[in-house]
Amino acid sequence: MDFSYSEVQLMLQDSVQKFVQKSYDHNTRTKIVDSEDGYSKENWQLFAELGWLAVPFTEEDGGLGGSTIDLIVMMEEFGKANLVEPFTATAVLGGGLIAELAEGVRKAELIEKVVTGSMQLACAYAESGSRFNLSKVTTTAAIEGGDVVINGNKIAVLNAPNADKILVVARESGAATDPEGVSIFLVDANAEGLAITPFTTFDGKKSSEVLFENVRVSESVRLGSSGEALKALQKVVDRATVGVSAEAVGALESLLKKTVEYSKTRKQFGTVIGTFQALQHRMADMFIECQLARSIVVMAAMQLDSSADELEKTKSVSAAKSRVGKAIRHVGQESIQIHGGIGMTDELDVGHLFKRVTAIDIMFGNADFHTERFASLE
C-alpha cells in the first residue's frame, strides 16, 4: 500500500500548477469564458506541448500511460483553477471512446490528432428522456445501402459548438433501454442534417443540443462492432466520472482555502469573522468534507487502475460520485454563506467555483443516482 505520488505524477502536478500561476488567474479565465470559442486555442496547443492531452492514453495507444491516478492528479489541479478548456469532452470522453473502440491505423491517427491538439471532440450520449441511464437510447441508426442514417435528438453535448467530430450514441436494434444494439459513430460536426443549437452552461462551458435529421454517413464511421458499444461507453464514462470528481475535489479545496482566508481578513463587530466559533466549526466541517471526498476519489481511481473485480470497480465509481456530490453541496453552499454578500457576486471567483462544482454534481449522474446505483450492485 502506497499513497505517495510517483515522480511523473509530481511533475505533472507541478506543470499544471506553474501554468495556472503564470497564465490562468480569474480575470484571464473570465476573458476566455466570454470569448467566442469559450476556450483558449493557444492554451489548448500549450496543453498538447506539455503532454497533458496524452495523459489519458496508454503508451501503446500513443499516450503517456493512461492511469486513472495520473488523470486525477492533473484534474484536481484543473479544478483548483476552474479551468474551462474542454479536456473532459475531448481527451477523456471522446479520446477514451476512440481508444476503447477504434482499431489499427485509424485509431492511431485519431488519437494522434487528440494528443497534438488538432482535433476537438464532443460526445452525444444524453437524451431528454434518458436522464443518467446510458442504455436509454432512442436515437436510431439504420443501415441503408451501405450507409448509416441517424435520426434523433441529443442534449447536453459538451463542446459540440467547437467540435470537429461528434461521437454519437445511437441504437441499431432493440428496445429503448436494451443494453444490446447500441453503437457509436464518429460523425463530422458539419455533416448534412446535423444541427447544433449552442448554448453556454452556467459554469461557462460551451454546450449544445444536437439534432440528427437523416444524417447519412458511411458505415465505416462506426467505432467497434455493431450494437456492442455500451460496455465501452460505460467504462469511459465511469473513468470520466472519477476524473470530474477529482476536478471537484480540487475546486472544493480552492473554495475552502478562499473561505478560510477571507474569514481571516473580513472584519465585523470589530474583529475578523474567523474568530467566531459559529463560523469556525462550519469551516472545520468543510475541511472534513474535502478530506472525505479526496479519499474516496483516490479509492475509486485505485480500484479502476488495479482491481480485477468489475463489480467492485463500478461500485467504487458510484461511491465516489455520490460522496463527492454531497461534499459539493455542503462545501459549495457554505463557501457562499460564509463569504456573505460578496460571495453572491459575479465578480468574485468563489461563485464561479460553486457553479462549476454544481455542474459536476449533475454530470454523469448526481448523488441520488449514484447512491441507488451503488445500492443496486450487491
Binding site: M1, D2, F3, S4, Y5, S6, Q9, I69, V260, S263, K264, G274, T275, Q277, Q280, H281, M283, A284, D285, F287, I288, Q291, L292, A293, S295, I296, V298, M299, A301, M302, Q303, D305, S306, S316, A319, S322, R323, T371, E372, F374, A375
Partner: protein, 399 residues
C-alpha cells in the same frame, strides 16, 4: 500509488483470520452480534487469549511485549477483529496508561506496572473528568498535597468507565494552584483499594451503569506512584490523547454492524409484503453509510501511510474521531428504525454481568434502542466532537 497488500501482508491477514475463527469464543460472538455486552470475566478471558498469542498490544514497542507489526499489519489486525466482532481490548491499561508509563515513567514503574497490563492481570480506569471539568479538562480540581513520602488526594472524578471493575486508576491531579491551570497538574497512579477511595454507579439512558463517580477522601498515595515530574501531567495527557485518536475511526466495526443490519433487514417484513432489504429508501440509507465508511477508511489509510512515512499523527486524526463516532451513531439509528416496535422493551438487565436470559425480539432488537441511547456518548467522550473541531480550526486552518 496503490492500495494493494503485499504477499507478506496477505499471509498475515490469513493468519489473523484463522486465529480469530478458531480462538475468539463462539458464544462471545453470538453475544456481540446480539448487541449484548461481555462480562468482566469474558473480557479478561478474551484479552488473555490475545496475550497468549502475543497479540495483546500491537501498538507497544517490542521490548515491552509489542508485536513489531507495521502500520499496515496493525490495520489488517484491527480490520479482521472488527469484521468478526471481536472487541478491542479495554483501552485504559493497554492503550492509555501504558504509553505514558513507557514514555515518562522510571524503570521501576515500568517493571512494576507494564507486565500486568500486558497480561490483563490488572484492570485500569481513567481519572480525568470531574463534575466541573469536562471538555475544559485543565480546570480540574482534585488536589494532591505532598506530605512526606505521600500525596494526600481529595476530590471527585467522574465518567469512570468500568470503574466498578478497576484495580487501579490513573489520575490527573492538581499539585499547584498558583500557576496557569495547565501547569499545576500531575499524573498520579492510585490503587483503588486504598483507604478513602469509593465509587458510586451512574445509571445512563440504557439503564446500565457502565460509568461511575469516584471519590477520594484523604487518600494516601506513595510518591513513587507519580509519573514523570510533578506539574508536567498535562503535557503527558495531551500526548496520550493524540495517540488515542488514531485508532478510533471504527470502520471495521461499522462494516461488521452493517453486515448484521443487512442480515436482519432481509428477514424483516416491511409490512407491505417485501423485506426491508427490498425497500428502496432503506437500502439507500444503508448504501450511504457504506459509502461513508469507504471514504473514512481511505482517510484512515492515508493517515496511516503518512505515519508510516515517519510523520506524527497530526490533528487530521480529529477527523477520524468526529466522522467515526457520528457514523457509528447513524448506524445505531438505523438499528432502531429497522426494529421499530420491537425496539421498545426496556430490559437493562441484559447488560449486567452474567445475564442468562433469552434474546428479546428478532436479533435481540430490545438492545438496539439502548445501544443507540448509550452511544450518544461517543461524540462527547475523548474530547467532544466540538473540541475536535476546535483542534482542526487551530492546527489545520490556522483560525
Amino acid at each position: 500509488m496503490n492500495a494493494d497488500f503485499t504477499a507478506e501482508d496477505l499471509v498475515f491477514q490469513d493468519e489473523v483470520r484463522t486465529f480469530l475463527q478458531n480462538e475468539f469464543p463462539a458464544e462471545y460472538r453470538e453475544k456481540i452480534d446480539a448487541n449484548i455486552r461481555l462480562s468482566k470475566e469474558e473480557i479478561i478471558n478474551w484479552q488473555k487469549i490475545l496475550y497468549k498469542k502475543g497479540w495483546a498490544a500491537p501498538s507497544w514497542p517490542e521490548e515491552h511485549g509489542g508485536t513489531g507489526w507495521s502500520q499496515i499489519q496493525k490495520h489488517i489486525f484491527a480490520t479482521e477483529m472488527g469484521l468478526i466482532g471481536a472487541p478491542e481490548p479495554v483501552p485504559f491499561g493497554l492503550k492509555m496508561v501504558a504509553p505514558v508509563i513507557m514514555a515518562y515513567g522510571n524503570d521501576e514503574q515500568k517493571q512494576r506496572f507494564l507486565p500486568d497490563i500486558l497480561e490483563s492481570n490488572v484492570w485500569w480506569c481513567q481519572g480525568y473528568s470531574e463534575p466541573n471539568a469536562g471538555s475544559d479538562l485543565a480546570s480540574l480540581k482534585t488536589a494532591a498535597v505532598r506530605e512526606g513520602n505521600h500525596y494526600i488526594v481529595n476530590g471527585t472524578k467522574t465518567w469512570n468507565t468500568y470503574g466498578q471493575y478497576a484495580d487501579w486508576i490513573f489520575c490527573l491531579v492538581r499539585t499547584d494552584n498558583t500557576v496557569k491551570k495547565q501547569e499545576g497538574i500531575s499524573f498520579l497512579l492510585i490503587d483503588m483499594k486504598s483507604e478513602g477511595v469509593s465509587h458510586k454507579p451512574i445509571y445512563l439512558l440504557d439503564g446500565h451503569a457502565e460509568v461511575n463517580e469516584i471519590f477520594f477522601d484523604d487518600v494516601k498515595v506513595p510518591v513513587e506512584n507519580l509519573i514523570g515530574e510533578e506539574n508536567k501531567g498535562w503535557t503527558y495527557a495531551k500526548v496520550l490523547l493524540t495517540h488515542e485518536r488514531t485508532s478510533i475511526s471504527g470502520v471495521p466495526r461499522g462494516n461488521g454492524r452493517l453486515r448484521t443490519l443487512k442480515k436482519i433487514a432481509a428477514e424483516t417484513d416491511d409490512g407491505f409484503g417485501n423485506s426491508m432489504m427490498e425497500n428502496q429508501t432503506f437500502r439507500n440509507r444503508l448504501a450511504n453509510i457504506e459509502i461513508e465508511l469507504k471514504a473514512l477508511e481511505y482517510v484512515e489509510l492515508r493517515t496511516l501511510a503518512s505515519i508510516s512515512a515517519g510523520k506524527a499523527p497530526g490533528p487530521e486524526s480529529s477527523i477520524l474521531k468526529i466522522v467515526g463516532t457520528e457514523l457509528a451513531q447513524k448506524i445505531d439509528e438505523i438499528f432502531v428504525d429497522l426494529a421499530a416496535y420491537q425496539s421498545l422493551p426496556f430490559v437493562p438487565e441484559q447488560f449486567e454481568d452474567g445475564f442468562q436470559g433469552a434474546p428479546i425480539g428478532p436479533g435481540n432488537s430490545a438492545a438496539f434502542a439502548l445501544t443507540y441511547f448509550n452511544n450518544r456518548k461517543a461524540s462527547i467522550y475523548g474530547g467532544s466532537n466540538e473540541i475536535q473541531r476546535n483542534i482542526i480550526c487551530k492546527a489545520v486552518l490556522g483560525l
